[in-house]
Symmetry: C2
DNA sequence: GCAACTTTGTGCCCGCCTTCACAAGCGGCT
DNA sequence: AGCCGCTTGTGAAGGCGGGCACAAAGTTGC
């Protein structure tokens, strides 16, 4: 009866959760195309994963496909939505309406997938009071009031790096438990708050690394690695 | 002398590469603050990783810190830049100048970090010919010519999902070897092309999953998981 | 009603990554 | 000059996730 560990009969691995979301989207497309059932092989091919892995992922959510047939698209979709907590819409707050933030506010992929951005914040006086996509930009200092009032528990930070930690603190104080961070900063948060980081520059740097890796060995001996052995 | 495998005395693990980029940025900040040396403990704390992991990461690039002191900030920075292939700027092509694409084109974080976006493409006639951030938007069909001419090997795809695969094919045909994909689609590419995917909606869904996970156990027994044991 | 085929669910193994722990090395202090 | 304390680099162990392969289970055709 101690809260926490023993209440979870099956813990879903982090990596699986990420894939479940991908399966869900693909199921949506399949449903639109009129498919009623789908085999693990088909769904795996469409989402780019191993079919055994996919079946194992689905087994975590207690899903029951039909052997010899596959999975019922509608049922699986519904089940995935419930497990992922998408059966009710989750309001999202976005802080920082600059270049990236503006795009995020207008990005249809969020609202269409159950995450309407219902609050926008910035510090720029020129932006505060301006409506973007039908939402009024409010001053950052209004975060506690607005988030509490609208019951917002998910926040996105798209501010410059220097401002991110302060904004983060405000969000946490306002009751936000999950944060998607686009600022190139490692946020310090209490343990009960979850942060996911999306770092676009780092993504490009990883690509660049592989580019240079593939290019150098063909040039000559003293390549980028093994320089001072 | 056989090209390929044996020229690499140490293979850098994927997970390490991603962190190296993060270390690099933090080193930049430290350098601005005038720090001359940094210990693995400090740098690890600042980037949110375990210090032993950090040291192992750095050991992959043949780095030599000074025991009892730490790492020389300047030297380490320089070395990281070389290993990550950032010693020369890499031009980047961006396809899809919609909501997200527009923001990416204007995002200062790329050019500032050695990845100037030097080519923009779209199919929308209203966008083609319009300059964004000083770059003229060209038609998608110009991809081969432009990429070849400017020696572009890195591409970003920020189109709607349906268009992504076709655009991807064009980029690959144009000689692009690395692709950062923002479209919610699994791209099919030849083996020598590397794709990294950034899926914003999925990121939010992962957060939502944990939100509902934390909320449900406190409510009552028949929670979302363990429904049909 | 039976046989053959299809597809799921999962046990097992393997490899990668993370973390601990500690010896070796270097600078500063006396 | 020698000792002490700090920090690096790395061997070893543990855990997690991925993939193979197969038995169980259901369906279709005859």
């Amino acid at each position: 009866m101690t809260p926490g560990q023993d209440t979870a009969p099956r813990v879903i691995p982090e990596a699986s959760v990420a894939r479940l979301a991908v399966y869900l989207r693909m199921l949506g497309e399949l449903a639109e195309q009129g498919a009623e059932t789908v085999s693990s092989e088909e769904l795996a091919a469409a989402t780019g994963v191993n079919s055994a892995k996919l079946r194992k992922d689905l087994s975590y959510i207690g899903s029951h496909g039909i052997r010899g047939v596959g999975y019922d698209v509608r049922a699986l979709r519904y089940q995935l939505e419930r497990v992922l907590g998408l059966d009710h819409r989750q309001a999202v707050a976005l802080v920082g309406v600059g270049n990236l933030g503006h795009a995020l506010a207008g990005y249809g992929g969020f609202g269409g997938r159950g995450f309407p951005v219902t609050a926008l914040f910035d510090v720029d006086p020129d932006l505060v009071g301006v409506p973007i996509n039908g939402i009024l930009v409010e001053h950052v200092r209004a975060i506690p009031a607005v988030c509490a009032e609208r019951g917002i528990t998910i926040g996105m930070i798209a501010t410059p790096g220097q401002a991110a930690q302060a904004v983060c603190n405000q969000l946490v104080a306002a009751g936000v438990r999950s944060i998607l961070n686009f600022a190139p900063v490692v946020l310090q948060v209490p343990r009960e708050v979850e942060v996911r980081k999306v770092d676009l520059a780092v993504e490009l740097q990883i690509l660049a690394f592989h580019v240079s890796r593939r290019a150098e060995p063909a040039v000559n001996g003293h390549a980028v690695n093994g320089v001072l052995p």
